[in-house]
Amino acid sequence: MQGGSSGIGYGLKYQARCISDVKADTDHTSFLTGTLSLREENEVHLIRLSSGGTELICEGLFSHPNEIWDLASCPFDQRIFSTVFSTGESYGAAIWQIPELYGQLNSPQLERIASLDAHARKINCVLWWPSGRHDKLISIDDENLFLWTLDCSKKTAQVQSKQSSGMLHYLSGGAWDPHDINAVATTCESSVQFWDLRTMKKTNAVERAHIRNANYDMKNNHILVTAEDESGIHIWDLRKPKSPVKELPGHTHWTWAVSCNPEYDGLILSAGTDSTVNLWLAPTSAEEEATSESIAEPPAQHADPLLNSYSDYEDSVYGLAWSSREPWMFASLSYDGRVVVESVRPFLSRRVGVS
């Protein structure tokens, strides 16, 4: 829509797919991102937004042994994060700790706390419980769901339980319910499955093909947002898994990632392979009105859910993260390694009703 003058840019050396908000850092708005380069030496960048909010500063640059396919910051310790990496032929996942005095060291090494090495298949992601301190971790590979017990002080991680997703269900990712410590959603080719971690049994499923990404609404229980290859974004009320509560058109090409704002109700970001990031407003609190909404109504009567489309990217955008410290800021990462941090402030006051 408009030029990227509003965004603050930061360039990575190589291509990259994943970015994560450092939630545990309450003093700064910072993000962690890792590069994806098959043949070069990969790096993890710790980026911090300067106090004026006008600049992105590299706080730490750490080398990482392999290309990074997934990266997640620990929600209770800003120095700990997890990565999923690949050598091209094999996959691995590990928990890392940023060394204490990294500011003074010249080329600091990441300290590997634990490696999640029980996987035999391609690993997709590692999940932390998003709402607070919890000593469990989840890792998902193509076929299995692992629950780990992590002990940071002893630097160990042990498999607590493991469950196969069943025949012909290739898992592609997942999300941990921030409202329920025992509920996890996993995405696979034809559906979203829901698991109870106590019994490691499937509790529910939403039948939907080609889901790329799923994200729980931090504010509203039972609300899950999914992104799909061709058919856009769907918002589900998990109590009514038959049909979505709301449908958003998504992107011109695939919708790769969705993320619900941790603070403002119904504010959703989506990133797509059409090199745009879209900001949506789709409150589900008025869901009655939404489901009965007749499409025959003149379109003018319904406000366009699309608040803004950030199109100043030069390649597909795969990485997306809201800042939990400043919930009107988000970071996006396009495949060419460009991090853009933007504020959605200009679009908030108008419709979301935030001062």
């Binding site: 360039g11 050396k13 190589y14 291509q15 098959l38 043949r39 070069e40 690949s86 091209g88 032929e89 290739y170 080609h210 290859d229 061709e230 058919s231 038959k242 049909s243 979505p244 449908e247 011109t252 090409h253 695939w254 392979t273 059409d274 090199s275 007749s294 499409i295 025959a296 003149p298 379109p299 003018a300 030069e314 390649d315 597909s316 495949y335 060419d336 390694g337």
Partner: protein, 779 residues
């Protein structure tokens, strides 16, 4: 004295004052203002002191003034003297005339007394004489009176005895009015003495009366009698204390029976008008039926009016009855309207009803039938409009569903084209027919319809508005776009997905057609013959808002077109997904031939192209557009950006070279890849291809390849290049995307060494030969 008061104004005034002061009861009140004796003006007051006055005068005035004053005073004194004299004279005059009057009165009174005494004497004598006459005649008069009374009594007795005979006579003469009068006259006597002296008489006359009652009843019920006669009979019966109510009820029942006959007739009319669809004989039989019906209604109206005269107080029942008739009429009409009928037929029915109503209104205007039937007609017409639109909607969706059915058989060469034409026709012709149909309603001069004109206009407009909304919903339902309907249609979607895709395209094009052709035509038509209206109030604006409908269908067209492209790319996506997730790319073997997914991909594209070709128009300037995309506007923009980028990248030389080239290329992509889809064959196909290639790139990015895997991709892409360019409008973009896939593959390759060009060429040639073998006819 009074005559010369103009020059002597002062004088007269003074005179009058003096006279009034003379007659005034209290002289002191005249000079209520005690004037100051110290001034010269005090001369006229009671408190006048002559000495003081003199002193004052002397003191104040000089000699000349005094002399003057003297002269004045002398004159005044003289004046006053004459006044006084005149006053005295006048008083005296009045006194004299009063004495004269008194004297005359005295002389007149003296002769009166003698006359009065004479009068008294005469009155006394008259009185005594009249007393004498009175006493002498008293006896005789008493006798005369007695005799007279006896005679009257005798006459009455005679009447009673004669009554039976007289009644007989009346019956013979059918003079029932007299008979009833006689009988009712005799009734008090019969009541008093009927059990004793006049028993026989009473019996006889009662018998006679019974006969009369019977006759009267007969008369009342016989239709041949004149209405007056029947009314009279009813009145007489009532006078005879006959229970009229039961009669009334009976008569009413009779009327209700005839109502049933009327109802049947209405059905006949329906049948007739049904038949009248056949134009030759319809008219004749129609009119026959109508006239028959009219006859019966006329009869009914007469009966009603008769009844009304007979039982004037039964109006309410009659009104109810008549309204019943109308209600039933309209009930059948409503039933009738539910079916598929033309406005002409409805008009026919309405006309019949209206003539009935008019006929009935003549005899019973209190029933306010016109108003009543207006309301009923309003409902019926509204239903008619609604049902007409319903049938139109049904027609169109039938035409569209036929697409599904017929293209399944695939017997026709261009099933989609046929379907599109059919549905276009269904929409345009259908709505034109509907309008024409409704125009008949408007053009008719039937009073009923003229009054409802505004309403009809509004309904038709509203009808169109709702109709197009419903049509839009139907489109979405058919396209399976509605997620709620997707579950209902799960089955059809599963086995007829290919067909469905074509249908979506047809719907998209149909939406455009509706927006661009049908709506303007209808708007025109409505403006021409359905303007006005406004019964629903101007603040709401006109009921039919073409702008809104156009907007709906424009967005619908776009959505459907996107949906079609989505459906197509989705299928290719599944294909690609399978291709890229199944093999182990890291352990790929050396490429021997072009992979078969390419065939499938091209097959899909061909299918889509054939569908698109049937439905969408060809783009106008194919060549021109291609040059456009490489053209000045795009490149100028990207150049500028590129310069920007270059300066920046100079500062960051550390960046890998790959990234730089990558960035430079990406500007081109930004300009070209995701353009707006247009309603042309090329645009749709190009968009589909672009989206598929982009998907291909994304799939490649998710894998890691060994050298052979990379070479396989290179080979497949190289092969795709030629056939894709042939089908696609925007060659540059496709070229770029294909390059992009190879770049992505090389990035994801552990050992990116491309195939030697000769080997590449050889493999492609082999594939082409094979391809030609398999599709000998295909271009």
């Amino acid at each position: 004295m009074e005559t010369d008061d103009v020059p002597l104004d002062d004088k007269a005034k003074r005179m009058r004052d003096l006279l009034s002061s003379f007659y005034a009861p209290d002289p002191s009140s005249t000079d209520n203002a005690p004037s100051n004796p110290g001034t010269l003006d005090a001369i006229n007051t009671t408190s006048f002191d002559a000495d003081q006055y003199m002193n004052l005068l002397i003191q104040k005035s000089n000699l000349e003034a005094l002399l003057q004053r003297h002269v004045e005073m002398a004159a005044e004194i003289k004046n006053i003297d004459t006044d006084l004299q005149m006053l005295v004279y006048e008083n005296y005059n009045k006194f004299i005339s009063a004495t004269d009057a008194i004297k005359r009165m005295k002389t007149n009174i003296v002769g009166m007394e003698a006359n009065m005494e004479q009068l008294l004497d005469k009155i006394m004598s008259v009185q005594s004489k009249s007393d004498g006459v009175n006493t002498s005649l008293f006896e005789k008069r008493e006798r005369v009176e007695k005799l007279h009374r006896t005679r009257n009594l005798l006459r009455k007795v005679q009447f009673i005895y004669d009554l039976p005979a007289r009644l007989e006579k009346c019956i013979e003469a059918e003079a029932y009015v007299d008979a009833v009068k006689f009988y009712t006259g005799a009734m008090p006597i019969f009541k008093a003495y009927g059990d004793s002296s006049f028993q026989d008489c009473k019996q006889a006359s009662e018998e006679a009366i019974a006969v009369i009652v019977k006759n009267l009843q007969g008369k009342l019920f016989s239709d041949s009698e004149s209405i007056q006669a029947r009314a009279e009979a009813a009145v007489l019966l009532k006078q005879l204390d006959f229970p009229v109510d039961s009669l009334q009820v009976k008569l009413l029942e009779k009327l209700e029976q005839s109502l049933g006959d009327l109802q049947l007739k209405t059905n006949d009319i329906e049948n007739a008008s049904m038949k009248s669809n056949d134009p030759k004989q319809g008219k004749v039989s129609d009119s026959v039926h109508i006239s028959a019906h009219e006859g019966s209604v006329r009869g009914f109206a007469e009966a009603i009016s008769a009844y009304r005269v007979i039982f004037p107080e039964s109006e309410e029942q009659l009104i109810k009855l008549v309204q019943d008739v109308v209600v039933k009429h309209f009930e059948t009409t409503e039933q009738y309207v539910k079916g598929r009928i033309s406005s002409a037929n409805l008009l026919c029915v309405l006309r019949t009803i209206w003539t009935d109503v008019l006929l009935l209104d003549e005899v019973l205007s209190e029933a306010v039938l016109p108003v009543f039937s207006l309301e009923a007609a309003q409902i019926a017409l509204k239903q008619h409009v609604a049902s007409t639109f319903n049938y139109l909607l049904q027609d169109i969706s039938d035409a569209l569903v036929r697409v599904n059915a017929s293209s399944k058989e695939a017997a026709e060469e261009h099933p989609l084209q046929v379907a599109l034409e059919a549905s276009k026709k269904a929409v345009l012709q259908g709505s034109m027919d509907v309008l024409l149909d409704f125009r008949q309603l408007l053009d008719d001069d039937l009073h009923l319809l003229v009054q409802l004109r505004d309403f009809i206009i509004d309904w038709v407009q509203e009808g169109f508005q709702d109709f197009f909304r419903a049509l839009y919903d139907r489109f979405l339902l058919l396209s399976g776009r509605n997620s709620s309907s997707r579950q209902d249609q799960g089955l059809t979607g599963a086995h007829g997905e290919k067909v469905l895709a074509g249908l979506v395209l047809v719907l998209a094009q149909l939406s455009v057609f509706i927006e661009q052709t049908v709506i303007p035509r209808i708007t025109e038509e409505i403006a021409a013959s359905f303007s006005g209206g406004g019964a629903r109030g101007y603040e709401n604006g006109p009921a039919f808002v073409p702008g809104v409908i156009c907007r709906i269908f424009r967005s619908a067209g776009e959505r459907l077109l996107h949906h079609y492209i989505n459906m197509r790319t989705q299928k290719v996506s599944t294909l690609l997904r399978k291709r890229f997730t199944t093999p182990n790319w890291v352990k790929h073997k050396e490429p021997r031939e072009v992979h078969m997914f390419v065939d499938l991909f091209l097959q899909e594209l061909k299918e889509s192209a054939s569908e698109v070709k049937q439905i969408l128009p060809q783009g106008l300037a194919r060549k021109h557009r291609r040059s456009d995309s490489n053209g000045s506007t795009a490149s100028s923009r990207s150049n500028q950006l590129r310069d920007d980028k270059m300066t920046r990248s100079n500062t960051q030389r550390a960046r890998s070279q790959l990234l730089e080239t990558h960035l430079a290329k990406l500007f081109k992509q930004k300009v070209e890849i995701f353009t707006k889809v247009e309603y042309t064959q090329e645009s749709v196909v190009t968009t589909t291809v672009k989206l598929c290639l982009k998907s291909l790139q994304e799939f490649v990015r998710l894998q890691t390849f060994n050298r052979s895997g990379f070479q396989q991709i290179q080979l497949d892409i190289q092969f795709l290049r030629t056939p894709l360019k042939e089908t696609v409008e925007d060659e540059a973009a496709v070229d770029f995307l294909l390059d992009e896939v190879i770049v992505a593959a090389s990035e994801r390759c552990l050992d990116p060494i491309p195939l030697e060009p000769p080997i590449l060429d050889r493999l492609i040639q082999a594939k082409l030969a094979k391809w030609k073998e398999q599709n000998p006819i295909s271009p």
